[in-house]
Symmetry: C2
Subunit: 162 residues, 2 copies
């Protein structure tokens, strides 16, 4: 889980992005990223035991990777990559992306694109045959962004809040 | 993983449905169920090592449950339930349903509904705050079915085949 990739933004600006597994001390920054979002704002809360317990579950699970995209020592972005084994599609392993956020100061400079390309590359390296995610239909910009990266919106994403 | 629930169809017909974790000897029947489907037919293949390896990954993973809905000793239906921990939504555990199939002989008698209600109940019991799934937009009947169970199609389901 300590697989680190240093990846340069290249001609876009030259700032290095380090993709690494989240550490316990990143949790406050990650929660702030999750909350700093039109839809996310109302869903997040005080940094209480629920977040720490969830972090521990993710950290201990070899099929879940909570990732930080670090720029200049700051958590500039985050996403979670989940590997889901299953019999469907000839026993295909699938990768799922959840909780994608880019810090306000880093939006519009290609960091989100680098993050998703990194996740696709990790999924391929893990032997996955598919990468999937759902995006709220209100996030029209995000949906166009994923389509520009090759995703197709073939499915309805159905949710039931308990 | 040996949590078994016996559940009667009640006034619909009175046949008992046993929900249980899939066993190694169920794999051929489950693969046949996955293949016996308009969209699934072209995606499945010979019962080779890929299926057995995938079964072993699922069986060994405490957050993945491949489930058989058994009626009269037959695998009448199958689904996979995956628990995904994460920081989003105040550290909410989510349950995801994949690979839902009902055998042709058992369609139209409420078995699919019992299966999804069972999965929702298991998700609640595991402490999940949400159940989610994606359904191909071509499956208009399936989407209406999930909506009738309380799911809302708030999200686009985006897929990228590698």
């Amino acid at each position: 889980m300590e697989d680190k990739v240093s990846d340069s933004l290249g001609r876009d600006g030259g700032q290095d992005v380090i993709f690494r597994d989240a550490r316990r001390e990143d949790v406050p920054e990650i929660v702030a990223l999750l909350a700093d979002d039109v839809l996310g704002a109302g869903r997040e809360g005080d940094l209480d035991d629920a977040y720490w317990a969830a972090f521990e579950l993710v950290e201990a699970d070899p099929r879940n990777r909570l990732t930080v995209a670090e720029v200049n020592g700051t958590a500039a972005g985050t996403l979670q990559l989940t590997l889901i084994p299953g019999l469907s599609r000839h026993g295909m392993l699938r990768a799922q992306i959840e909780g994608v956020r880019v810090a306000a100061d880093y939006r519009g400079h290609g960091l989100g694109r680098r993050m998703i390309l990194w996740a696709i590359s990790e999924a391929r390296r893990a032997g996955c045959g598919m990468v999937q995610l759902t995006s709220d239909k209100e996030r029209t910009g995000a949906i166009r962004f994923y389509e520009s990266l090759g995703f197709t919106a073939t499915h309805e994403g159905l949710k039931l809040v308990l």
